[in-house]
């Protein structure tokens, strides 16, 4: 992997973090290919080989449906979220894809309250190059956080 590709990859991660911290949820599905996988999974399930995920999406269409749910149907307390992501660790490059991962932390700020650590873990990703730039073909978000503080509404 040359410097140019690695620069693009770090931009992808930084761009994603900015997008899901912005409150503009329509940005989120656009980081993915049409046929894609997005799973938000407790570490317990991941390590014990249980397939259940807290969110289990199999297409960009499902991500768009989630955005619709956030905006139109899911009643929730409004909150800011701030995703802080570590430098991506490249595991493998080849066959037109990059296998990589990164640690992350999400901080939540509800109105009139202090900021709290909301969710932490790592993403295990497959990134591919498309005419529109680098996209996630697969993003598995494995979270350490044992108890979800009530509800997860926004994408991580």
């Amino acid at each position: 992997m040359d410097f140019h590709d690695y620069f693009d990859l770090t931009q992808l991660y930084a761009d994603y973090a900015a997008a899901v911290s912005s409150g503009d949820w329509d940005l989120w599905p656009e980081f993915f290919t049409e046929e894609c996988s997005y799973r938000l999974q407790p570490r317990e399930n991941h390590e014990r080989g249980f397939p259940l995920a807290t969110l289990f999406f199999e297409s960009k269409g499902m991500l768009k449906d989630r955005v619709y749910g956030i905006r139109e149907t899911l009643f929730h307390d409004p909150y800011y979220q701030r995703l802080v992501v570590g430098t991506p660790l490249v595991r493998k490059v080849g066959g037109g894809r990059i296998d990589c991962e990164a640690n992350y932390a999400v901080f939540r700020t509800k109105l009139s309250t202090e900021t709290t650590v909301f969710n932490v873990g790592r993403t295990i990703d497959v990134v591919v190059r498309t005419p529109q730039g680098l996209k996630f073909e697969s993003r598995l978000v494995v979270y350490d956080s044992e108890l979800i503080p009530n509800a997860i509404i926004y994408p991580i």
Binding site: P42, F50, T54, F56, K64, D65, P149, I152
Partner: protein
């Protein structure tokens, strides 16, 4: 009401009548009431959920969980039977089991290496007979120390259809009598003897009183109003064919509904944001395939008082374990499962439909939210009360969903047992 309008803290819990259609906020906010509930509902006379047999398939497998607020271990013994013991070493009282699951030949408390069989019998006490040194014996337990008297605290265990319940109280009716014939029928519909296959867990902490979760699943008035996703995509109509039934003490209930063929309609939703034309980008969220065991109903939600909710919503099935933690919060653990004869397709369908449920679910995330904000208000004004008078003030089974009768029924039972 004697207190002035600006007083928010009652001197005594105040019910407006002998009925239960107005529930004092204080039942959710008082620490003494909470302790009494633990004693009377979780630690005495009630079968509490501990897990599924499929979580501990092999001899020596164990799972740590709770009954009420007490840590317990469910383990499969040498004889293949299921034991449930309290996670407190008989010696110095340490909660010795730290792993949440695993496989052991015995339980050992790391503090002084006291060891117990999988049944909870004390089998090893280091230096029980002292230590020989220069011709004399130093220390040792008293001569009358009898290991048989110092096992782990053993709970009564009842299992049916692969679901395991336990009770600290050994003088308790059978699990079947506890559920009663009406609820048992729906329990057996879901757990009809097939082996279960664990799909995984979701864990959330909801900052509200534990009873609010029981009430949420005894409230068929809200789904078509709060959960607009249900309505928007045609999974819920207030005129769906449905039934609400209770056990004879009104503590347990089942909400049984059958999705109509008519699809969605604005007239029966009353949801202002309702959009008749909305389509899913990916309709696989609702790729529902009826299963033979349903026998008609497409959704059956069972509340077993005090600790458990059993969910069948189309192809998604789960147990939801209520784990109180003080009067103002509970942990809520979802165990999604399937059945051993499931095809890969049906497993995928269960995993996909699980997007509707759990702490991020399209129609469940908002339940936790409303519970949190109810609790906030209760804490600020304990003297006030909720109003559960939809469908009348009385308690009884119905053949429709436009009622809060199951909540009134639960509090009828609650008042009797709590003597409040």
């Amino acid at each position: 009401m004697n207190e002035s309008e600006t007083t928010v803290t009652p001197k005594h819990i105040h019910w407006e009548s002998t009925g239960t259609s107005r529930i004092p906020f204080e039942v959710y906010t008082d620490a003494a009431i909470h302790s009494k509930e633990l004693d009377r509902f979780f630690y005495r006379n009630h079968w509490c959920y501990v897990g599924l047999e499929a979580e501990i398939p092999n001899i020596g497998d164990f799972k740590r969980t709770v009954v009420g607020e007490r840590s317990v271990i469910m383990a499969r013994g040498e004889d293949g039977g299921i034991n449930v013991v309290e996670n407190i070493c008989a010696h110095r009282g340490m909660a010795f089991c730290r792993e949440r699951h695993g496989n052991r030949k015995e339980f050992v408390c790391p503090y002084h290496q006291w060891s117990y069989t999988l049944q909870g019998n004390l089998q090893g006490v280091p230096f029980r007979r002292g230590v020989k040194q220069e011709g004399k014996v130093n220390g040792g337990m008293p001569a009358d120390f009898d290991p048989a008297e110092h096992g782990l605290n053993k709970l009564a265990v009842a299992a049916r259809g692969g679901v395991v319940f336990a009770s600290f109280d050994h003088d308790i009716e059978s699990l079947e009598d506890f559920m009663g014939p009406v609820i048992l029928e729906y329990f057996d519909r879901l757990f009809n003897g097939r082996k279960l296959k664990i799909l995984g867990y979701n864990r959330q902490r909801i900052p509200g009183n534990w009873k609010l979760m029981q009430e949420n699943i005894k409230d068929p008035y809200h789904p078509g109003l709060l959960h607009t996703w249900f309505v928007t995509f045609g999974l819920w109509r207030a005129d769906n064919k449905s039934r609400l039934v209770m056990d004879r003490l009104h503590r347990h209930a089942a909400m049984i509904s059958t999705r109509g063929a008519a699809g969605k309609s604005g007239q029966v939703t009353q949801v202002s944001s309702f959009k008749e034309t909305m389509q899913l980008h990916d309709p696989r969220f609702l790729d529902i395939v009826p299963e033979p065991w349903w026998g008609g109903p497409t959704a059956v939600m069972i509340t077993l008082f005090p600790s458990l909710i059993l969910q069948q919503q189309v192809n998604s099935v789960s147990t939801r374990h209520i784990q109180p933690d003080g009067h103002g919060a509970f942990n809520f653990v979802w165990t999604h499962f399937g059945f051993e004869d499931d095809t890969e397709e049906i497993t995928q369908r269960r995993l996909r439909q699980a997007n509707l449920f759990g702490p991020a679910g399209f129609v469940s995330a908002d339940d936790g939210e409303v519970i949190e904000f109810s609790q906030q208000a209760f804490e600020s004004r304990p003297l006030h009360h909720t109003l559960v008078e939809q469908g009348g003030r009385e308690v009884g089974d119905t053949d429709h969903m436009v009622t809060e009768t199951l909540i009134r029924g639960m509090y009828e039972y609650w008042r009797k047992v709590m003597e409040i």
